[in-house]
Assembly symmetry: C2
Homo-oligomer: 283 residues x 2
């Protein structure tokens, strides 16, 4: 709560300034934990409530006990960490802590809260006008038991992301083992076709991004029909407009996917403006 030090910590673990985690933590051993990546804009953590809701639900699904006032503890820690900063990326990791015997977790898990503040990544500024994406060869497994969560088991994303080095390629689109498009390695995918907003269904694979939810709710509020679909790459490529979202980048229109070119149009513009308002005004 109170912090008048001039050298603010960049990492807090359970509220203490600390930059290392005990080696026995189940987050390291098994990836038994979750994370959130939250945009800090004009001193506000954007869509904070939605991030906390997803985090709490994830903890329930993974059997991680969190204290009653967990969200407000985290909020206090974020304020301490961000006291002197107005722009950046807040990363929160919650792990199941140490203990248990092998894969068996203890009856009550000793959850660990890690809050970090990073500078905003320096992406080329023209990405708001359009980015190049490729289709990854890596296939995401189907697993409804873990689908949707932003858990710490992210080797799929690491291996898919390792497929390209070219800095002109902003993202790789990843399919599942049935060749249905799931998401980008670090973003969710949207398409607009014949006036309908389409995005991959994430019931069996993928991460349900907070910005994805925001886009779907915004579409609903503006009376734009949206559908969650199981489409192949070829089906998605027939879209009129395509864009990527996540909490840090906001929205990047796709201008080229493999060999195919796209042109940003009115629906993408509307969502970009909507996110800009969210960042500027917090609503």
């Amino acid at each position: 709560m109170s912090s008048s030090s001039s050298t603010l910590p960049r990492v807090l673990i359970n509220g203490e300034s600390c930059d290392s985690l005990v080696i026995s933590d189940r987050g390291l051993a098994y990836g038994h934990g979750l994370f959130e990546t939250i945009r800090l804009c004009q001193g506000r953590p954007v869509l904070w409530g939605q991030h906390m809701e997803r985090l709490q639900k994830g903890c329930e699904r993974l059997g991680i006990d969190v204290p009653k006032h967990f969200g407000s503890e985290l909020m206090k820690e974020v304020w301490r960490l961000c006291e002197r900063d107005t722009e950046g990326v807040i990363k929160i990791i919650v792990t199941a802590g140490s203990g248990g015997r092998g894969y068996a977790a203890p009856q009550v898990t000793d959850s660990q809260r890690i809050v970090m503040l990073f500078p905003l990544p320096e992406y080329p500024t023209d990405r708001a006008e359009g980015v190049n994406v490729i289709t990854c060869n890596y296939r995401l497994p189907l697993n409804s038991q873990l689908a949707g969560m932003k858990h710490l088991n992210r080797l799929d994303q690491v291996l898919a992301r390792a497929e390209w080095q070219d800095p002109d390629i902003a993202e790789g689109i990843v399919c599942d083992s049935n060749d249905k498009v799931v998401e980008g390695t670090m973003s969710n995918l949207f398409a607009v076709k014949e006036g309908v907003l389409l995005t991959p269904s994430l019931e069996r694979s993928g991460v349900k991004g907070i910005m994805r939810d925001f886009i779907l709710q915004s579409a609903d509020a503006m009376g734009l029909e949206s559908r969650e679909v199981s489409f192949t790459v070829a089906e998605f490529k027939q879209a009129d407009e395509l864009f990527l979202t996540n909490s840090v980048i906001g929205l990047w229109p796709i201008k080229q996917w493999d060999e195919q070119r796209y042109y940003k149009s009115v629906t993408t513009d509307i969502f970009q403006a909507r996110i800009q308002r969210l960042l500027n005004e917090g609503v």
Copy 2:
């Protein structure tokens, strides 16, 4: 190399006595790493060469750079850690270290070596005579890109293991999303039927245990036919003998699987004796 301290470390990180890992490590962030669990018996790390070979191959598959004399560094660290102990469990974790940008790893990863020594787990001694197992509801995803490796993404095992608390149940058998048996949550499964040794194929899911390899090679050496199979639970339950293996437990015969009873017989006895010789004589 030399260590004459009377208070030996129980954890070494890159050869230094230390029990915590920097929070930015990719092992924690993404599970970008691997581990080995090695039985220390009569002062020897059992099947050391085989564990090192699997670890090196895993590092290659996950794009983790390790130094040229990686295996001998680890060996020295194990000797230091185990100087005063003859029995225990050595756990080695290798991570991709810190760095990179999001999921993208740096061009050359700064791999971290963690060596830990634990006491042998105190399992009931009668488990060598037979154990009870259940079938888990959890389904392992199919993913040939990660199959076989002992990587740090182990939420599947954590969630499967959370299905029972009863201490009389020693293990849960887990199937894949096609209902084919893969393994136990922490062990590999073997069956003997009509004089043939059967074990699940692990091309699309599961961990290829070092003790599993040892059993298959031993079967080969003794002229016993073995086959890797894709069997349902019902098919496996028709076996004459069933047993579980891993590097720490050695071999546990199955005496009951769900409602069905089994009796330990000659083939299981032979493999138990074979493992006993491995532990006593190191060959």
